[in-house]
């Protein structure tokens, strides 16, 4: 049980049973700061093209789409000296590297990657590396029913989980992404599922274990599945820095209620070569990925315990 899940449960118990807590959207006035370059890029060892998106930050309540940042020079150099050039062909701030063949991948387990961006007179850099990732051993599912019919999703259905084992050695970190019908599932920042070794956080040593049950079941996104659904998982190996970036993204986007913590800025690994120059936001990530999928077949489901 992660800490935030416990807080959530506590808040639910605390207020929903007796009292009449409520949430509503209100208008507030906030200051706006200058726009900054935003780097949105995450390379993997999957074969095929890789994309890095550049845009500009805006006032917090400005709900129009982010302004793209075209006209930048974007390259990645790896630890073996190979240079990958990303180009923005449509001028929309979407910079793409396309391999000669679709079977070629940019990323390699153990590889270190150096990102360089020249934009509007400033030069930004970031580094990351691709760490090892365990294979997914199996996927399983069992019959399950919720005590009450949830607002979305079925009352009776299936609860899926994947089995994989953390490597022996402290400090492997992972991003667990769910797939449904072959596509990303549960893409809200609040659904980000992170593992430190086989458990939630560095404080609970779980080195070398099979991922603990709440992580194995985190691919269900709080809903039950139905017969015939294709459910899957992608396990991304990430660096500790990436872990804390995603951790903070999740925290800052779900940080309300009685047990809210003081809001803080989401860290970035993008830095300006000139320390006095303009700052940038976002993150340059790198991962190796393992993947598994299965179709829910009622005959193969483990009966309800």
């Amino acid at each position: 049980m992660s800490k935030s899940a416990i807080y959530l449960l506590m808040s639910l118990f605390a207020v929903s049973i007796f009292l009449t807590s409520c949430e509503d959207a209100i208008g507030i006035k906030t200051e706006t700061g200058p726009a900054e370059l935003v780097v949105d890029g995450w390379i993997t060892n999957k074969s095929g093209p890789q994309t890095i998106r550049l845009s500009l930050s805006a006032a917090y309540f400005d709900n129009s789409p982010a302004k793209p940042a075209p006209g930048a020079e974007v390259t990645i150099t790896d630890d073996q000296g190979a240079v990958y050039t990303f180009t923005d062909e449509k001028g929309k701030g979407v910079y793409k590297w396309t391999p000669k063949s679709d079977t070629v991948a940019l990323g390699r387990i153990g590889g270190k990657y150096f990102l360089q961006i020249k934009y509007s007179g400033e030069e930004y850099t970031a580094t990351n590396e691709i760490k090892r990732v365990p294979k997914i051993d199996s996927m399983a599912y069992k019959e399950e029913s919720f005590p009450i019919k949830p607002a979305d999703g079925p009352k009776d259905g299936y609860l899926a989980q994947f089995y994989a084992r953390d490597f022996v050695g402290l400090g492997d970190t992972y991003w667990i992404k769910a797939l449904k019908g072959g596509r990303p599932y549960g893409t809200d920042p609040g659904d980000i599922s992170l593992a430190f070794d086989a458990s939630f956080n560095p404080g609970s040593p779980s080195d070398g274990l099979v991922f603990i049950q709440p992580l194995r079941q985190s691919i269900n996104i709080n809903k039950l599945l139905s017969a015939g659904d294709t459910i899957g998982v992608e396990l991304y190996s990430i660096t500790l820095e990436s872990y804390y970036f995603l951790f903070q993204v999740r925290q800052e986007t779900t940080n309300g209620g009685i047990f809210a913590v003081p809001p803080a800025n989401i860290p970035t690994n993008i830095s300006n070569k000139n320390p006095g120059g303009k700052k940038a936001l976002g993150f340059f990530g790198a991962s190796a990925v393992s993947r598994a999928e299965t179709v829910i077949d009622p005959k193969k489901a483990k009966p309800k315990s």
């Binding site: 049980m1 800490k3 416990i6 506590m10 207020v15 049973i17 007796f18 009292l19 009449t20 807590s21 409520c22 949430e23 959207a25 209100i26 208008g27 507030i28 906030t30 200051e31 706006t32 700061g33 200058p34 935003v38 845009s55 930050s57 805006a58 006032a59 917090y60 309540f61 709900n63 789409p65 005590p147 009450i148 809200d188 920042p189 086989a198 458990s199 956080n201 404080g203 040593p205 274990l209 099979v210 991922f211 603990i212 049950q213 903070q248 993204v249 800052e252 986007t253 309300g256 009685i258 047990f259 913590v261 003081p262 809001p263 800025n265 989401i266 860290p267 936001l281 976002g282 315990s305």
Partner: protein
Amino acid sequence: MKNRIRIAGLGFMLLLGTLNAQAQEKYTVSGYVKDIANGEGLIGVSVYIREASTGVVTNPYGFYSITLPQGEYSLVFSYIGYQKLTERLTLNADQRLNVEMSTESKQLEEVVISTKKEDENVRSLEMSVNKIDIKTIRQIPALLGEVDVIRSIQLLPGVTTVGEGASGFNVRGGDVSQNLILLDEAPVYNSSHLFGFFSVFNPDAVKDVKLIKGGIPAQYGGRISSILDVRMKEGNTKKREVNGGIGTIFSRLTYEQPFAAGRGSFIVAARRSYIDVLAKPFLKGDLKQTRFNFYDLTAKVNYRINDKNTVYASGYFGRDVFGASVFGFGWGNGTATARWNHIFSNKLFLNLTTYYSNYDYAINSDPNNKTPKDRFEWNSKIISSSVKPDFTYYLTPNNQISFGGQYINYDSRPGNAVAVSSGESRNISLDSRFGDESALYIANEQKISDRLSLQYGLRYSFYRNLGPGQIYQYQEFQEGQRKFPELPGTAVPKGNVIKQYGNWEPRFSMNIGLSPTTSIKVSYNRTAQYLHLLSNTAATSPLDVWTLSTNIIKPEIADQVALGWFQNFRDNTYEASVEVYYKDLKNQIDYVRNSDLLLNRYVEGDLLFGKGRAYGAEFFLRKNKGRLTGWLSYTLARTERLIDGVNNDDWFPARFDKPHNFTAVGIYNLKERLTLSSTFTFASGTPATFPTNRFEYNGWALPHNVYNARNNNRIPSYNRLDLALTLKSKKKLFGIGQGEWVFSVYNAYNRRNPYSVYVQQNADNPLTTEAIRFSVIGSVIPAVTYNFKF
């Protein structure tokens, strides 16, 4: 040089005064003051000797002692809400005088004011002290009709809360963990049931509540902001008594009985929430296993062995239990106190206290043992045990010396946890931590003249963090960010001192009488705190861990000065005060941005340290007599922190900073059987951190504050009106008892007061950002309670 001569002269005069007094034959009169109705000792009764124009006040056990030259005297015992009692006395030998006082008859014509003065507010040395008697607390409109000690003290000047449902209270800009909450002298680590909605004190078992915000006397120590001293009833020594009530949340029952012909008595009080009992028939399937309740049990027994020895034993046990078929979570406090009051001589009084206090919580992912291959168990505990002798020596009517000490042993188990995944288990427990705290103090309350009295004292506290334990040094890479331990650390063997700290804590108060109804008071105190509640959430949570000072975590220290003006009007019908204070806080704790405070071996690396300052002015007007009683309170205050690595190393307001705070409490005795009461609260909104910008990443709109500021905005202000009506039933319950109905309305004009305002992306569209107002209570809450007594 001139000054030195003056000081020497003053000292000589004082000495002379003492010698002069000793030249005469002197005797001591002492004894206990009790309530005639139930035999409870009365705390703070003024004992005034008319002929000598001097007086004393009874101690927490109802004991007083005064030494006078041989002669004839009138002792006047007075206490608010009680009939004045005058005893004639021929003093020609040491004498014991125990008296019993009766409450004022409840006639409504009693608007006519008695001629004598209940002017303790002006005359006593205490400042920055608020007492609310339990009768008043009972009449204040309460949330869901549940009379509550802690919610009531939040209506006093200088006391605030971060929001509805938040546990504990903030005093003069201190955080929740800086209050020493004592229940019969044993510290209570978590004062709340159901997070902060209800406090752990059963009002039926509480006798007296005193909040000390400043001028903290030398006998108290261990927390830097305030002392909340809650004393339990001793139990009726005259007759059997049963109290109880049926409320919206709790059912309560209290039983009191004398034994050994009134030499002893006991009280047992129990409360339990019963929503789960009522809900059970409506739950199906897995929900049948839902457990959701909180309860507490309070018991106390006292026995007067002889005129010189009285013993008391008291205990508290409370628990909150949440659970479902797949999840169990419980927490609670337990305390046990044993006390011995001994009168060595008529002048020397001893109270010896020993206590045991424990707070723990436990979480189990699999309470029904359904999935033994995948489960998680976790518990945390802090145990303290202490012995504490307190002596009072009634030297002369003008000098009352108190001295004593305390030894506390701490045993902290920050987290014991086992995780089982696919049948393999890992013990992820943290090491236990040990420490002890000792203190010695001496203080004197001295009356220099009719116009000037002083209280001065010194406390020395000494803390040791003891082995066994693994200790670490931490390396900082960037200010304000997580620090990493230098592994493998150092193992300190059992009994060895890891780190020790000692602090001199001077305490001083002065009362300058300007007129019989006006005085100015000044106080200074230094306090030190060796135990810290690590909590980074807006409201503290039951999971937060009390952590001992270590080689890295230094003791928190506060210095406070306060200056006050006290005046009573219209024969003490009204008492008014204005106080200003300034408080300097050292070694305050804050947290890195992704701090992990639970089950983290290297939690010290996630802490940031800095300092704080708090200052303010408190205006208080209270009406004590007549049909309408109550008070108005306004506080203008700031509390700020300066933490390395936070808010660009600049001062920022603390999370619970509320510059304006106004409360009005009115209790109106409409008819003999009917009382109306009302409270109104207005407070500034608490600080909040809002982003300046948003940026898109991976299809998410994420917040960013370009200026890296903390608490740079404020949420809308808070205001609320509560009403209550108490109707005593006409018919006697079972022919002897009494029943009453309490109807209450909380948040009468249905305001959605924000607890917090936060920003987020819209649930349906993660690229749309909005501000959300979160109200813990978003509607009117009516309630009915029935109380009985027989």
